[in-house]
């Protein structure tokens, strides 16, 4: 993922180049947050309404 690649670079590149990367990192951070917000909106819609009952009713037999 882009964020990780940038982090790896900062350890090997010279200092002046690191400064240039700051806006890119925070921009990708904001993008990530926006994506997470969209995801959470969607999850609020599909997550089982009664979480307690949903979790309680999920009972399996051991397998293997």
């Amino acid at each position: 993922m882009a964020e990780r690649e940038q982090k790896k670079k900062t350890t090997t590149e010279r200092t002046e180049e690191v400064v240039e990367e700051v806006p890119a990192t925070s921009a990708s951070g904001e993008k990530l947050k926006a994506e997470l917000d969209d995801l959470l909106d969607e999850i609020d819609e599909v997550l089982e309404d009664n979480a307690e009952e949903f979790v309680r009713n999920y009972v399996q037999k051991g397998g293997e």
Partner: protein, 497 residues
């Protein structure tokens, strides 16, 4: 030289019935029959001739141990992609066909998810009582009941089992840091009295012994089931029960790829630069699942300490040197070995610098990121039921409900290649012969299993075709032969001549 690491994954799925008979065995049967009858439109049974899961790799069984029983009366089908889709205990289970490398194994594991999705849709279609089957690709119900996602690797019989146990245990204990599927809370006596918010592995806390034959109780880190499904004088099949079922493609690829590589090093007797023997592997495994910083020192047998991450770096460094010295042909095509090393190094770097940067690659990180974001938005505590609900629904395979499917995780195989793998067998193992025979002559194949096919040609007796070598019966070996045969009897005549 290490032999080719033919591999496969068997996944037991969780199953739940909404608005209907909750019996999981009946539900699993309905699911698989719906797929066989409505989607695949053929049903070839499984042949149990070769099943002996009670054989122990150590050559004996420990007193009081319980070898698994073979259940021959439950629904069992073989698919044209070479896979097995069946009822095991109280779960639907899908076993990929034998794959030549980790990327193929991922492709066929993903095909299994598609098969289950199609099976659920078919089961809904035939249900007349308004009931609905829901299948989860996870490994526990959060109440102390666990079911497995096993891997299998072809190994050289010449590698002593003791060396396998010693060499693979450090990997099995620590690899969860990148292939754990994540879990809210804890559910075994091991954690009694301690409050656990989140663990990186679903399965880690269920392991109680270092080595053993059982798979359902007193689960061992290294399973000794010695059932090669191949020529037993040349091959061993290492049956690995320690893993979680993964949804993230990178995690599945790394789980199989790094394990194949570690096993190859064991066959070639490559030594680590320091001892990687843990003083107490079982406790270490439990502890690692709780440590998201990977800073907890684990006590080694020689009295020194190491973190889970340090053990993984040591294994990786060994593997890189092994690749330079001997090459990685045993992992498949040249690109596969290189990809395993590259991805392995990437995730170890990521785990070291910022684990949350791996949310598109690793299941436990993806799940944790989702839960943390949800907690922040709704201000809930870990004890809130919605945390466990998010965990469970992450693994729901229904596209309409799956939380995993809503996340933008990285893929390594094209969706069209996954769709192909639903019906087409892999070309470079014996699964190709199995799948092609089922495709071409479904009426003539009575039963199939991993190492043979049984044909009914309308004359006595039934004819068994043994396939004792997983690397024979590939497209390269038999495609021309199959193309040239107009009927199964012609095929059998040519094979026996």
């Amino acid at each position: 030289m290490a032999i080719p690491k033919v591999c496969g994954i068997e996944t037991e799925f969780g199953i739940q019935v909404l608005h209907g008979d909750p019996n999981p065995i009946a539900a699993s049967s309905v699911l698989i029959n719906a797929y066989a009858n409505e989607v695949a439109r053929q049903q070839i049974g499984w042949d149990f001739e070769d099943e002996a899961p009670g054989n122990d790799a150590r050559g004996y069984a420990r007193e009081g141990s319980m070898p698994p029983q073979v259940e021959t009366h439950l629904v069992n089908t073989v698919l044209t992609n070479g896979a097995r889709f069946y009822v095991d205990h109280a779960h639907p289970e899908y076993s990929t066909p034998e794959c030549r490398d980790a990327l193929e194994c991922l492709r066929f594991d993903r095909a299994g998810e598609l098969i289950v999705i199609r099976a659920m849709e078919a089961a809904d279609h035939v249900a007349h009582d308004g009931s609905q089957l829901v299948v989860y690709k996870n490994n526990s119900d959060g109440k102390g009941n666990s079911y497995g996602a096993h891997e299998n690797y072809l190994m050289d019989r010449a590698a002593p089992f003791n060396r396998i146990v010693a060499g693979v245990t450090p990997h099995f204990v620590t690899r969860q840091i990148f292939c754990g599927a994540g879990k809210v809370g804890s559910e075994t006596a091991f954690h009694d009295g301690t409050k656990v918010d989140f663990q990186i592995s679903q399965r880690a806390e269920f392991f109680e012994e270092q080595v053993g034959l059982e798979t359902t109780l007193k689960r061992p880190i290294v399973n000794t089931r010695d059932e090669p499904h191949a020529d037993p004088h040349r091959y061993r099949r290492l049956h690995v029960i320690v893993g979680d079922a993964n949804l993230c493609e990178v995690a599945t690829f790394l789980k199989v790829g790094t394990t194949s590589l570690v096993l190859a090093m064991i066959e070639d007797d490559v030594a680590a630069s320091r001892s990687l023997i843990l003083a107490d592997p079982v406790t270490a495994m439990h502890d690692i699942a709780l440590d998201r910083t990977f800073t907890k020192p684990l006590t080694m047998a020689d009295g020194t300490t190491a973190t889970a991450l340090a053990i993984q770096w040591e294994l990786f460094t060994m593997a890189r040197k092994y690749a330079e010295d001997q090459g990685l042909d045993c992992l498949g095509d040249e690109s596969i070995g290189a990809m395993v090393l590259e991805r392995w190094e990437e995730v170890l770097n990521g785990l070291e610098s910022n684990p949350m940067s791996l949310a598109r690659q690793l299941d436990w990180v993806a799940k944790l990121q989702l839960i943390e974001a949800y907690r922040e938005r709704h201000g809930c505590e870990w004890s809130d039921h919605r945390m466990a609900a998010l965990d469970l629904q992450y693994h729901d395979l229904r596209p309409s409900r799956s939380l995993f499917a809503r996340m933008d995780t990285e893929t390594l195989v094209d969706e069209s290649a996954v769709v192909d793998a639903v019906t087409e067998p892999p070309r470079d193992t014996r699964a190709w012969f199995r799948g092609q025979c089922l495709k071409r002559w479904p009426a003539a194949v009575v039963t199939a299993n991993w190492d043979s096919l049984v044909f009914d040609l309308g004359t006595d007796p039934l004819r068994r075709v043994p396939m004792m070598d997983p690397l024979k019966g590939t497209a390269e070996h038999v495609e021309a032969l199959l193309e040239a045969c107009a009927s199964p009897s012609e095929l059998l005549d040519r094979l026996s001549s």
